[in-house]
Amino acid sequence: MFDHFLRALALGAGIVLLGLLGLVLFDVVMRYALRLPFLGAYEMTELAMVLIVFLALPYCAATGGHVAVDVLSSILDRPGLRWLNALIHLAGAALMLIIAWQATRYAMGSVARGEATNMLGIAKYPFELVTATCAAIFALVLLGQAWKALQPPKQPEFRR
């Protein structure tokens, strides 16, 4: 269930990416064919990037996509070290929760200051709240992995 939700979020990121592709191509055509550069394209790209990166972040974590160093796997996978692996996931979860909390505060400050993009005047805070929410979901994924690390081996693993 949760995994389906993460996949749906990532698909959302994918759809935004397709939109971004369309936007940049549209901008190129406008500039060369009609000599009318689309002035909002720059900041729309920035906002799209936020959605693409953060909506996909928890999915990437859940599917084991984040790069880690695997040299000591044979040692770390020993059952006796389960607590250590869980601890590493927990530390990551704690960091992500702090990021979610601080990003929310940052978004609140942005609301107070009335921050918006230059050309189109799009409010920035919804996008900042997306980073906060996705960091919180990322933390949930890491908590789940910490719990899984504590279980005896041979749990079925979620794949894409």
């Binding site: 592709l21 996509g65 990551g92």
Partner: protein, 434 residues
Amino acid sequence: MSPTAVGVIGMVALLALLFLRMPIGIAMALVGAIGFATLNSVDAALHMLGSYPYSYGAVQALSVIPLFVLMGNFAMVSGMSSDLFAAAYAWMGHRRGGLASATVLACAGFAALSGSSVASAITMGRVTLPEMRRYHYDPRLATGVVAAGGTLGILIPPSTVLVIYGILTEQSIGKLFLAGFLPGLLLTALFILTVVIVCAVRPEFGPPRERASMRERWAALRNAGAFFVVLVATIGGMYAGVFTVTEASAVGAGLTLAHAVWRRRLTWASLTDALLQTVRTTAMVFLILIGAHIFSPFLALSRIPVDLANALTALALPTLAVLVIILVFYIILGMFLEGFAILVLTVPIVFPIMLAMGLDPIWFGIFMVIVLEMGLISPPVGINVFVVKGIAEDVPMYRIFTGILPFWVAMMVCVALLVAFPQIALVLPNTMIR
């Protein structure tokens, strides 16, 4: 405690967390935030954690990452990668070791569509390894050539590693991409030369197969025509100043998408798969980037990079000696760490040294990528080797590494040529039209 001491403790803690398999981005952000809180203030560190993820995600220039990754994934859907191999195969297959040379060429071609070495090795390995097995190629040559050929992925543009290097060092991504092009061709040529030499010494390693007719050859080449269109539009477009890097990446992704539609290979399943793969890779790269951005203020506060650069320049070593030291240092790191990790960990330290020595930052980016590539195929953790091992399961690890050795030497030759003739990397970016 002195800033330097805090910095050293931070570095050691970071390495420990990495070896405990904490994802690189998280480990850098964690150590960076705690270190920054120690050397500056807790409030400043918290504010950094709240604002950096947004501000380093919302970067227009970085849209090249998802767009170029998307281009590579659409090219996989459209079958462009296997077309490339088929074309190279038709032209070279009848020579001794021809299949292995065709693999190198196809890897180089795929590298122009993809920015990842692992993706190159997986894609080309799945296509070429069964074929080389069928023609009784020695498994050492077959696996070695795929692992080595795959590393061209991050040298020939587009390249995720060069994008990250460009961001960390504030260099033009477009210039870096163009700078990687000729060294990429050089390394391709050196790999093919390696295949020829190996097969001259041990003819049984790469038996020739039947010759394809001229008609078959031209048909195969025409079939791969779409690839050349994409190549000219993206790299040519960037060089001629027709497109910015972002635009080139979008045009490339649009063209490969159109090709997939035209070939009737685009299904709902393949589209969602390509999108999911792309955003997953994007998230992976950005987590590292954001972590590196949180880590680098801490490193700067510790003054370690500046002190180290000053100490090294005070020694007044010849440039070549420093480069050799750095080369050895990277090769050793490459034996234990993953390429991205090495890049984000070392660039903030090594880059000021390079600047102090008056080396060209674009040139150094290319030098560094080739050296990182050598790490990708070095024992014990060369990631491309594991990828190849995953496809050719029955070939023991040590045999893959023996197969890689000659290609490793070829890369060393490439590095030496790059040091002797920096123009190989610099001529294109210096003559590009803006």
